[in-house]
Symmetry: C2
Subunit: 477 residues, 2 copies
């Protein structure tokens, strides 16, 4: 056992014997064996134990670990936490609360003692049980690959890795070791109560499955090992694909390039979305099949509303070729376009200026002569400028955002009138900008959709005598 342990310590846990290493020791056989073996190999150890104050025997456990540390001349750190109270406070199960408290304690102590890593005593049997638990709830690769020999970053530290040197050692080998070196572990009573589900797995399910395959545990362990390699490969692939598929990301959103995401195989689409979800909801553990299936379906064929509620307060929307994954609370970035709030109305005298959001302005000027490039003027070729017949207009124009039922007659459509909202959609005006996009009106008539199209009745004609030029500009671009 010691040989294979030594190999895993170097090659898979990447530990250096000279640097301090913090070992979490419950006092049970696994962690006591780990402590002793690391000590025999000459590791510079700090022993830590958290008294969960859950059981009558917890003081005895702490005492056992203290003695084990003292006998070997090792530093011992004891923590105490009323896990029962904390579980109640946080609404967690006792087991979850104990686990959280334990790891937080271990990593805090590791920082404190400058340890290279936190080592815990999970064995190959724990690995098999973990994989089977994930399997029973239908987890994907990230569950089936089981626990890692070395996990960094992890939920408790970005820098200090969590290592599991015994992950390739069977419980039977641990017990033999305990006997050979005459160690006296405490019996972890929690095996008999709180961790019921896992214990049922260990005592009933695995022996039952071994009737189908006597080497089931070895098979499952190896499967997990192979799958963890596959998982690592896919992770690296996502690393390299991410920047290709993502236009921009912020604390509250990720914008994917929808066309590129669509060109990826389904498995990659799922993983890229999954990673987006991880960015916005780092703690979220269970992203269910259905949610991702709905996301993939939406990507392929967006709903009419252009937006769906996804999972955990995240929404998905399609806009101008971008697939936005965003938190409901965070909102999307404002975008660099002219916007005027609903209900607001700006006067635009002739001549004059109306001030819009963020440095955007709409200016009007009256021209005495036909401008220099008449062809462009007649065609209204530049969408950020429009030439209008002054005599068709009221003396003051208005700028406001759209209202339900707004219509106009776009130039080039023979005077045909259409809904402004339909025109905006056809013009691919980005969804988020539509509602508050400024419109220029004369009385109740829309005369110009800035940045897009003039209204037909206000165009320059042969009979036009006085010209107005309207212009949409940004004074601090």
């Amino acid at each position: 056992m010691l040989i294979s342990l030594k190999i895993n310590l170097q090659k898979r846990c990447l530990l250096q014997p000279q640097k301090p290493l913090l070992v979490g020791v419950s006092g049970g056989p696994d962690s006591l064996c780990l402590l002793d073996a690391l000590w025999r190999m000459g590791f510079s150890l700090v022993v830590a134990h958290l008294d969960h104050q859950l059981r009558f025997a917890s003081e005895l456990e702490a005492e056992t670990v203290r003695r084990a540390a003292n006998e070997r001349g090792l530093d011992f750190i004891l923590g105490r936490q009323d896990v029962n109270a904390q579980a109640e406070e946080l609404g967690l199960s006792i087991e979850e609360a104990a686990r959280e408290a334990r790891y937080r304690f271990l990593f805090a102590q590791a920082v404190h003692s400058g340890a290279q890593a936190v080592a815990v005593g999970h064995t190959a049997d724990d690995q098999v049980e973990t994989v089977l638990m994930h399997l029973l709830r239908g987890a994907g690769l990230s569950g089936l690959k089981g626990m890692a020999y070395r996990l960094s970053p992890n939920a408790w530290s970005l820098e200090i890795p969590l290592v599991r040197p015994l992950l390739g050692v069977w419980r039977q080998e641990v017990l033999e070791y305990i006997q050979e070196y005459n160690l006296t572990p405490v019996l972890d009573e929690s095996n008999l109560d709180t961790r019921f589900y896992r214990n049922r797995l260990r005592r009933e399910l695995i022996p039952y499955l071994e009737e189908y395959n006597p080497r089931l545990r070895q098979s499952i362990w190896r499967m997990a090992d192979v799958l963890s390699g596959d998982h690592e490969t896919l992770d690296m692939l996502i690393d390299s694909t991410w920047p290709i598929c993502v236009r921009q990301e912020g604390a509250a959103f990720v914008e994917f390039e929808a066309a590129i995401l669509r060109s990826q195989p389904t498995g990659m689409q799922r993983r890229l979305l999954r990673r987006g979800i991880d960015h916005l909801r780092p703690g979220l553990r269970d992203v269910d099949y259905e949610s991702l299936a709905r996301a993939l379906k939406f990507l392929e064929a967006p709903s009419r509303s252009g937006q769906i509620d996804l999972i955990a307060g995240l929404r998905l929307s399609l806009d101008a070729g971008g697939l936005w994954l965003a938190t409901w609370e965070g909102g999307l970035p404002p975008g660099d376009w002219p916007q005027i709030a609903e209900g607001e109305e700006q006067r635009l005298p002739l001549p004059g200026v109306a001030l819009i959001s963020g440095g955007w302005q709409i200016r009007s000027e009256i021209l005495e002569n036909l401008p220099a490039d008449p062809a462009r003027v007649w065609a209204n070729a530049d969408p950020y400028q429009a030439y209008l017949d002054l005599d068709q207009l009221q003396t003051t124009l208005h700028v406001r955002s759209r209202r339900p039922g707004d219509r106009f007659q776009p130039m080039g459509m023979g005077g045909h009138s259409i809904k402004i909202s339909d025109f905006m959609i056809n013009a691919r005006l980005t969804r988020r900008a539509r509602q508050d996009w400024p419109l220029v009106l004369s009385g109740d008539e829309i005369v110009w959709l800035p940045g897009f199209r003039l209204a037909h009745p206000y165009r320059i004609q042969e009979t036009t005598r006085r010209w107005v030029r309207l212009e949409l500009v940004n004074i601090n671009p």
Copy 2:
């Protein structure tokens, strides 16, 4: 059910309703349901049934399928095969032999009738059972992903796909369909005998596991669906990585670029080797964890012999930066270098020519004057040419391959004598070429290692009066 079936037929099976489709129908509920549903959707069907002649009831089954086809006005093809006899002959289990015979029959008939695909009736329950069977034996992703809606190429055809339209339909839905449309399937008696293992899974294991997770079957099905996406992604990644990692491949070998293979993550190394094995042993189903682990270990730290036996008559060897995966029977490609068989000896007169393998020759000529570029001559700078002092040589030289104990004094090592085999290794002469590499001797003394180094005692000196030039050339490069 029909709606989800329709979607899967188009999107996952990629079937076209106009083109003929061959359906394999056993007469049991699943395949009868498939037949009826495809017929109602207007598919152009050919119905095929293989009578395995295994059971008393087999004629009745064939008759049931014939009637189902006739009632719907569909072509019916009946095959007969004594599977018992074949199983005995091929040393297969009855079930394996029946499966092989059935698929071979179906694909032969599909070719015959110009069918776009062969459709079979596997259901979502079959999928779950398949995944659990793979799981119990510890299969990797390729097993855990389960069966595919569309499989092409497959073991029976490179062109005609095998499709499983019912893979997303539960057995319960099939039974409801059977009842709704008043179909009369035969009871597949084999459920009660030959397919014992699968049946035990269905009747005992799955209900037992459902005590842990009542939605187990759905969970496993979805897991397989997600994993099949991951598998596809990895397959595409291997497709693109393969040409980067592979120097050359033939029917009996694959040569990987060892350094590039080493730079890949473990999961990729495993998959690249696995694909190499698939190339050389296409039928091989079970490549065990241990074999791949040994291969990875060898790649990282080659054994002293430079070669290991791998699996299924394949060997792995490292040579000149190449990792060779090759069949024992096939041998490696000869390589493009001069070789002279062990025991053979060629005379090389002065002047004269010795003929070596494959267009290679060693020529000698006597020079009356010091050649044009004396610096290069003195240094013996071109390893394919050597200038020697004629007066140090016998009148006829010899060419032969190395023998145990051969030594020589390489130029530039101050007359120090070393074993020719050590020199070859240091010179990175490829392992496969070393044994039969030609040496030039005068009497018992090695005077030149062609392509590499002259022997010190035969070099040109101030006192040299007559010069010999030796040259290694390939007359048909």
